[in-house]
């Protein structure tokens, strides 16, 4: 509901979404005291004590994202995640939300291709905290997946997916991932057909197979001491399903052939996406790509794509690029929307900017500006418990080194123009570039 308009709100949001690639650290900052241990349940725990506000943020992540579903049941990851809240052995779903609200706490959660996470924000005062954590713990560890809630949430998911299939941005994004990842599960998005295939037993089995203690990552930030954080981590994970060993390894990601897909749509704008599978989370090319992408299309109102496509030609409100590192090679993506009549011309400009960047890389001045922003702005990435929670959870889930944030500024600072150019040459190869145009202006 756009009551309020931003000059480029979506750029900012995207910056947040692509934060995966934008975590920075500050040389001036003292080492971030992330405490880490493994609970008796096998869950890995990450804790930052922060006593300024009497509140506590807790997040529990599982390797239970979309990629863990069978291709004919795409949507199972999201549906299971939704149904965790639909009633536990001790409490109905109505009681769960009431008991959380009664102490002013808030439940949250998110699910993407890799991760399924559930989170709790509560006051740290004892009565509120005890009730909120206990309710959260029961919810996580003893979900009942009642048949009625299953049927309801399945129908709601079909409705939501059907609605998505009318929207040009969703259509473009789903087509983009399908072309990038082909047979790999990162290609999967739910459709009304795949959701229809899901049975309650699938949800139960998915939960038992993937919401397991040994692969859980618990992140706690806020007003607690170590002993309390240990008790909370135990309370949240001791009763989770047990599983032995690592999760099943998935097939490697392969590069697609260069191709363009045009999809008709009645919208006034074309939605354009370009990209390819590019980088996994722990790849050494991460830093050169981070710095380089800031120059290309990541840096707010100063990137090359922004200046060329929006400032110079007025083609688009929103134009960006980002790398989204995942457990396996996540995408490099360029996106924009422009009125249909000029889609071809806008795309030509994007190709020109990308081609020039791949050939020459950033200038020395651009490299310096990128580092100034990424290093200088580090403090903004972790200046609230909420932001810190996201960063630490990411470090935990992807098994990044605990000094990741502390080492960040130095690693950004060490990137050279030649390294940026070489990393882009390795990761963004024109012969694999996929283009999707929804609402194509050309017949």
């Amino acid at each position: 509901m756009p009551v309020s308009l931003n000059r480029a709100k979506s750029n900012l949001l995207r910056l947040a979404a692509a934060l995966a690639l934008s975590i920075t650290a500050c040389a001036a900052q003292a080492a971030l005291p992330i405490q880490h241990w493994t609970a008796a349940s096998g869950a890995r725990v990450f804790f930052v004590e922060s006593r300024n506000i009497p509140m506590l943020d807790i997040n529990v992540d599982f390797d239970a994202g979309g990629r863990r579903a069978a291709s004919d049941k795409a949507g199972l990851g999201g549906l299971t995640h939704t149904l965790i809240k639909a009633g536990s052995a001790a409490r109905s779903e109505e009681e769960i939300s009431r008991r959380i609200a009664d102490v002013g706490a808030q439940l949250g959660g998110s699910v993407d291709r890799d991760r399924a996470g559930l989170s709790l924000r509560t006051l740290s005062s004892e009565r509120e905290r005890v009730q909120a954590v206990a309710t959260f713990a029961q919810m996580l560890q003893t979900p009942e997946f009642p048949q009625a809630a299953f049927a309801r949430e399945k129908a709601r998911l079909v409705d939501a997916v059907s609605e998505d299939e009318t929207k040009p941005d969703s259509i473009a994004s789903k087509a983009f991932y399908r072309l990038l990842y082909a047979a790999h599960p990162y290609a999967l998005s739910p459709t009304p057909g795949t959701v229809a295939q899901i049975e309650r037993a699938d949800v139960v089995n998915f939960y038992r197979a993937h919401y397991v203690a040994g692969r859980a990552v618990v992140t706690i930030i806020g007003d607690a001491d170590r002993a309390l954080a240990e008790r909370i981590a135990d309370e949240l994970t001791a009763g989770l399903p047990q599983a032995t060993g690592a999760a099943v390894a998935l097939a490697p990601v392969t590069q697609p052939a260069k191709q363009t897909q045009r999809i008709a749509h009645p919208a006034s704008q074309s939605h354009i996406l370009l990209g390819l599978p590019a980088i996994a989370r722990n790849d050494p090319d991460y830093f050169p790509l981070l710095v380089g992408n800031y120059v290309l299309g990541g840096g707010g109102f100063v990137s090359r794509l922004y200046l060329e496509v929006r400032e110079k030609h007025g083609f688009a409100y929103d134009v960006y690029s980002y790398f989204l590192p995942l457990a396996q090679e996540g995408p490099f993506q360029i996106g924009l929307q422009t009125k249909k009549e000029q889609a071809g011309e806008a795309l030509t400009r994007v190709h020109a900017v990308l081609g020039e960047f791949l050939e020459r890389g950033p200038t020395a001045a651009e490299l310096k500006a990128a580092k100034q922003n990424l290093v200088g702005g580090f403090a903004l990435r972790i200046d609230s418990n909420r932001k810190l929670l996201d960063q630490v959870a990411m470090i935990g889930f992807y098994r990044l080194p605990l000094d990741w944030l502390d080492a960040f500024a130095a690693r950004v600072g060490n990137v050279s123009v030649a390294e940026v150019r070489a990393a882009f040459a390795r990761r963004v190869r024109a012969e694999h570039l996929v283009t999707v145009v929804v609402g194509s202006g050309e017949k």
């Binding site: 308009l5 910056l15 779903e93 809630a149 129908a155 409705d159 007025g314 922003n373």
Partner: protein, 461 residues
Amino acid sequence: MRIQSFRRLCRCLSALVMAMAVSTAGAQSGVQERKLANGLRVIVKEDHRAPTAVHMVWYVAGSMDEVSGTSGVAHVLEHMMFKGTKTVESGEFSRRIAAAGGRENAFTNRDYTAYFQQVPKSALAQMLQLEADRMSNLLVTESEFSREIKVVMEERRLRTDDQARALVYEALNAEAYVAHPYRRPVIGWMNDLTNMGYLDARNWYAHWYVPNNALVVVVGDAMAEEVFALAQRYYGRIKARALPVRKPQIEPEQRGVRRVVVKAPAELPYLLMGWKCPVLRDMDKDWQPQALEVLMWVLDGNESARLNQSLVRESRLAGEVGAGYDPIGRGAGLCLIEGTPSKGKSAAELEAGLRAELARLVQDGVTEDELARVKAQVVASQVFKRDSIFGQAMEIGQYETAGLSYRDIDRVLEGVKAVSAEQVRAVAKQYLVDDQLTVVVLDPQPLDNAAPRPAMPGARH
């Protein structure tokens, strides 16, 4: 940010939004205020948890100050504010903020236009310098305007023309208000954008961008006295000017329910209902807005609140429902309820279900449990919101530009806590009535049947 005037309508956002919807016990005690000789007010809230600060400049000039024919000019000017001054060339403003490690943006609403930078504390002084420069030295050239107006038209296409629900919301305002300027969309009608000229934007700037119509808010790791000194140094030299007369533009009384249908590409229908409701004006007397706040929480404050529990979980009439109301604003108020019928259900069936819930509330009132739950959520949200310096700065700016004071933030909270069950029932009965209601229904159109739209004429060149 986008949902300021549409608080809590989308329940998935409710946790975030609630933290901003009501306010905090005693949390405003650390706030300091100074007024410069030119009329500029500066409000500082120190928060030393992290070495960052947010700097905002709010102008009390939004789309409600526009006149017919130039709708959208407040927002267009917001875009033009990044296009250079006498000494800082186009694009340089953003380059400097980026080089300082900062993030920036701006937003235009019906009541105000605001600009912000989130920066490491060492860059704060530079932000005041840059904002003060563009408060008085902006250049609005035909050349820059001719490109930027195209960007704004793309923004309208992206966020309104091709978004079925945004069209519904636009239609609701255009129908609910006959005379009040809230009837015009913030982004402006496309035809007004097409016919806008650079002089429209320049005039807007000349009329409204003066220190006596502005508010500076700084929250974060800064010392208030230092901020006041910087404000005096940079903003203090700008001269005050008389503002245009603001006409009241009071909405005439509505005399019966209004209904609109919007056709757009979509799968499911969508229902949006809006009732004329009061907003906070007199802190000493008004209690209805606080009671309406509580009413909205009872309807939609958590997943087991009435609307979701009854219509999504039990009867399964709806896939999604939400309720929202913003008691803080310069203009008129609306209480909003939205919903998406489940597949196979109609908007009319959902409307009947929603009306039954409201009738039950008016008949039986709310329970003490519900009231206690709302108050617990309000109290906790006051603690949670301290986690975001940005959110705190937003709240101060919204209160102040609506003609209230940051000091009222706490008073509103106390008012919400004091609301009785009977008061909730009373405001539901008084305000959620058909004569004050506008209903907009989305009639979903299949993608392949949607008639091709005529191409809009291009922008001026």
